[in-house]
Symmetry: C2
Subunit: 123 residues, 2 copies
DNA sequence: TTCGATGTTCTTGAAACGTCGAACAAGTTA
DNA sequence: TAACTTGTTCGACGTTTCAAGAACATCGAA
């Protein structure tokens, strides 16, 4: 039985500008992108956002469907990573411009990483 | 009597990233931005989009409210211009990245200028 | 003043969006 | 097997958005 309906990620050349812009027009999703901006893969659990899990799941799905992130499943948990290379290849400069702008205004600051999980952690 | 409720344009530092991203996540509005990309001021009437005038008015309002364009009134007609300098100052690289991406995919091609009005014209 | 041209606003309806809570599915652990 | 964990899906709700048509406001011309 196929697992939790393995999400379909758009192919690089299927990534749509409108979809990406739409995905990055919500503060929480911009916050998620910022948290993932260092290129590190993060687990669901590390992500702290002021919404319940189903809503977070929704936002992560929008990002995934738009081609902004990639989700990987390992056992019972998921890992997300920014598709920086793909986005840069498709729309040069766009992601950086958005991330810089978000940093400038501190957009999406409500999203963060779980305490102490800024990279290393809890064995 | 104040005219057609002169639209309020956000101040440069009031321009919100989320609003700009939202404004540019619609094909018609991206098309409008592309048409205005050369920096020339255009009159309402020059803009050709596959929607009725009230809808076009709506889209231009969204762009204006977000700070993407500036509207000027002259007599009975309006002129729009891209706020390129302001946007570049506030979010460096963002507008260019979006316009380039839009060009690559030909997003917003449904929007154009009225015949023969590609720059010079009618007396 | 009456018309016509140009845009805005209002109203209405359909679709999309963000949010939550509850139910579900799959893997892990006891 | 029975919990528990993790994440998805679904239904519901209210808000926002897009679209069109009709009414209105302003200006210029007759």
């Amino acid at each position: 039985m196929v697992v939790m309906r393995q999400a379909r990620h758009p192919d690089v050349d299927e990534i749509s500008l409108i979809a990406v812009m739409g995905a990055l027009s919500d503060p929480i999703r911009v916050g998620l992108a910022r948290v993932l901006a260092d290129g590190r893969e993060r687990s669901w659990g590390e992500l702290r956002a002021p919404v319940v899990k189903s809503t977070l799941s929704h936002h992560l799905r929008v990002l995934r469907d738009a081609g902004v992130t990639r989700t990987r499943q390992e056992g019972t948990r998921c890992f997300v990573v920014l598709r920086r290379r793909d986005l840069d290849a498709r729309f040069p400069g766009l992601l950086d411009a958005v991330l810089n702008a978000a940093h400038t205004d501190d957009v999406g600051a409500q999203v963060s990483l779980a305490d102490g999980q800024s990279g290393l952690l809890h064995g």
